[in-house]
């Protein structure tokens, strides 16, 4: 409880992804990696060295990549299909729908460098629509881990889960938030900090910012509950309803458009079950200016102090 936010070291979650995948491949010969000329950005270099036959690079061809993943699963393999998230999801969305989700193919989709990780490269390379695109698809868990520990746990969980899923990973460094040995549970939020005045909900690169915001709120005499929602679908309805009933106000923050992502998913549960004031922080339906991911998150009102201000304003609406 009350996880530390002062860990000085930041970790690239892709390293945890790659190390876990290599270990899984050692244990299970059916594990294969499929990528689109993204060996470097998916950190699959080590995997390729150890399992050259099991690294399947389709070139720059995302629709084929997802279809090939479905075919590999049909043939009894356990494919992790990796690519930059904007192209993996956007370019091949219909393949994800028909070949993976609707066919219930046992394929693990791994969207790398999601959100605004490619900040300076511009909106074509921002992946701030991927929650919206994927979470409407049945059969497809959508998961955005908050640190390297949760990333490793989710990658390991995916290998045991009999069905498809979408893992959304960033390349922006984040501190450790969860305890070593943490086990991923699908659709289950993690309580990181207790509080009764407002609930802060986030995932991915925003969770540690939420914790910092909660510390600022504490200094202002406000108790903020912080929930880490790695799973966007299926969403933890119980945790949302409890947060609404017990704290009376909910702020969400995400490296995603405010339309159709985590905040929308939370809001859907709130309006159906326990209406309370909400504030959804994210990219407000615009294409972002140039800048790093960290800069852009600040620019869109997700600096810890800005989150705290938003929470404080929200509490006044209770």
């Amino acid at each position: 409880m009350n996880a530390s936010v002062n860990a000085p070291k930041l970790y690239d979650c892709r390293d945890a992804f790659a190390a876990t995948l290599e270990r899984l491949a050692t244990e299970n010969e059916k594990v294969v990696a499929v990528c689109n000329d993204s060996v470097g950005s998916s950190k699959l270099g080590g995997f390729r060295s150890k399992f050259p036959e099991r690294l399947i690079n389709v070139g720059i061809a995302e629709q084929n990549m997802v279809g090939v993943g479905a075919g590999l699963a049909n043939g009894g393999h356990l494919p992790y299909v990796c690519g930059a998230s904007p192209f993996l999801t956007g370019r091949s969305l219909e393949q994800i729908k028909a070949d993976i989700s609707y066919s219930n193919a046992n394929v693990k989709l791994v969207g790398i460098s999601s959100g605004m990780a490619y900040g300076e490269l511009g909106p074509t390379h921002h992946s701030i629509e991927d929650f919206a695109w994927t979470r409407v698809l049945p059969n497809l868990p959508v998961i955005a881990p908050c640190d390297r520990i949760e990333t490793a746990a989710a990658v390991e969980w995916a290998a045991t889960y009999d069905g498809p899923c979408f893992l959304r990973l960033s390349r922006v460094g984040v501190p450790d938030l969860l305890a070593e040995g943490h086990k991923f549970k699908l659709g289950k939020a993690n309580l990181l900090r207790e509080g009764s005045d407002v609930t802060l909900i986030a995932n991915g690169t925003l969770t540690h910012r939420m914790l910092k915001a909660a510390e600022i709120l504490t200094e202002r005499g406000i108790g903020a509950r912080v929930l880490n929602f790695a799973t966007v679908r299926p969403i933890d309805e119980d945790a949302i309803i409890a947060a609404a009933n017990e704290t009376g106000a909910i702020v969400t923050a995400e490296e995603h458009s405010i339309f159709g992502g985590l905040g929308s998913a939370v809001a859907e549960v709130v309006v159906d079950n326990a209406p309370v004031p909400m504030k959804r922080l994210g990219v407000p339906g615009v294409y972002a200016p140039t800048g790093s991911a960290e800069f852009l998150l600040d620019e869109f009102g997700m600096a810890p102090s800005a989150i705290a201000d938003a929470a404080q304003a929200l509490i006044r609406r209770k």
Binding site: A61, N64, G67, L72, G75, G76, A98, D99
Partner: protein, 269 residues
């Protein structure tokens, strides 16, 4: 099954398909008639499958990428024993598992969901690659429409198949020269297909896709590269007033037309 028996069976499948479309009031009868000879040869001569064990790991894989002709596949699967023959009468009915495009989680024998075009070949490349990785001996076959070859995803897969050295993959293009709204030649004419596939490194055969004497040896052919069979077929094959008429892509015959079609298909039985 010999060629004569295959020809007779294809006629029976055409008749049952025709009746199903007539009774359901919907279907894609033109493309179903063009592809039925290929399906018949596959399921009754070529494919190594076990209807009582539809997920047998050694089974040959077959993907009907032109999923809108699902009815023809359902009738063929029923004749082969994957699903009850009487179930064909539920085609398109509420809650039937036999919807307008095949579903792999509901219909035994269907390997992957198809319907949107340009999906089957990439998935088939994955199936064939899986066999290469594990040393499995199964062969993967996929049927696309010729209009469907306008989808760019197919060309991504065509390149990958050669790169992956998939000599265990056969692509059959049902080249009936018509797509939904027009002749192929009047939209985005990708014919001739042979030089394009050959340029990408495939071995290509061209056959009369409505002639069992040409279909069977082409399907049984094995080489050292991915194999494409350009199957020249006729939309509406076997029914005189439908043949090569674009409006029979998904038109439903009226009672009079139905009776004429039944008579024509029954003649050679």
């Amino acid at each position: 099954m010999d060629t004569t028996e295959l020809e007779r069976l294809a006629r029976e499948i055409r008749l049952r398909d025709l009746r199903a479309v007539f009774e359901a009031g919907a279907g894609h009868i033109g493309g179903e008639m063009s592809v039925i000879d290929l399906l018949t040869a596959l399921y009754f001569r070529v494919l190594k499958v076990w209807p009582d064990q539809p997920k047998h790991p050694d089974r040959d894989r077959f993907v009907l990428s032109k999923g809108h002709t699902a009815c023809a596949l359902y009738v063929t699967l029923a004749k082969r024993g994957f699903i009850p023959e009487e179930e064909i009468s539920t085609f398109l009915q509420p809650h039937s598992r036999l919807n307008g495009h095949p579903n792999c989680n509901k219909v035994p024998g269907v390997e992957t969901n198809t319907g949107p075009l340009g999906h089957g070949l990439p998935v088939s490349v994955g199936m064939a690659k899986a066999a290469k990785l594990s040393g499995a001996m199964y062969h993967t076959y996929v049927v696309t429409g010729d209009g469907e070859m306008q989808e760019g995803s197919n060309w991504e897969a065509i390149m990958a198949a050669v790169q992956f050295k998939l000599d265990n993959l056969t692509l059959i293009v049902d080249h009936n020269r018509f797509q939904q709204g027009a002749a192929l030649a009047d939209t985005n004419d990708i014919a001739p297909l042979r030089p394009k596939l050959e340029a990408f490194g495939w071995e290509v055969s061209e056959i009369d896709g409505n002639n069992m004497h040409e279909i069977v040896p082409a399907l049984e052919h094995r080489g050292d590269r991915p194999h494409c069979i350009v199957a020249h077929t006729n939309k509406g094959q076997g029914i005189s007033f439908m043949q090569d008429r674009v409006d029979w892509h998904h038109k439903v015959p009226n009672k009079e037309q139905y009776e004429i079609a039944v008579a024509e298909l029954s003649e050679a039985l």
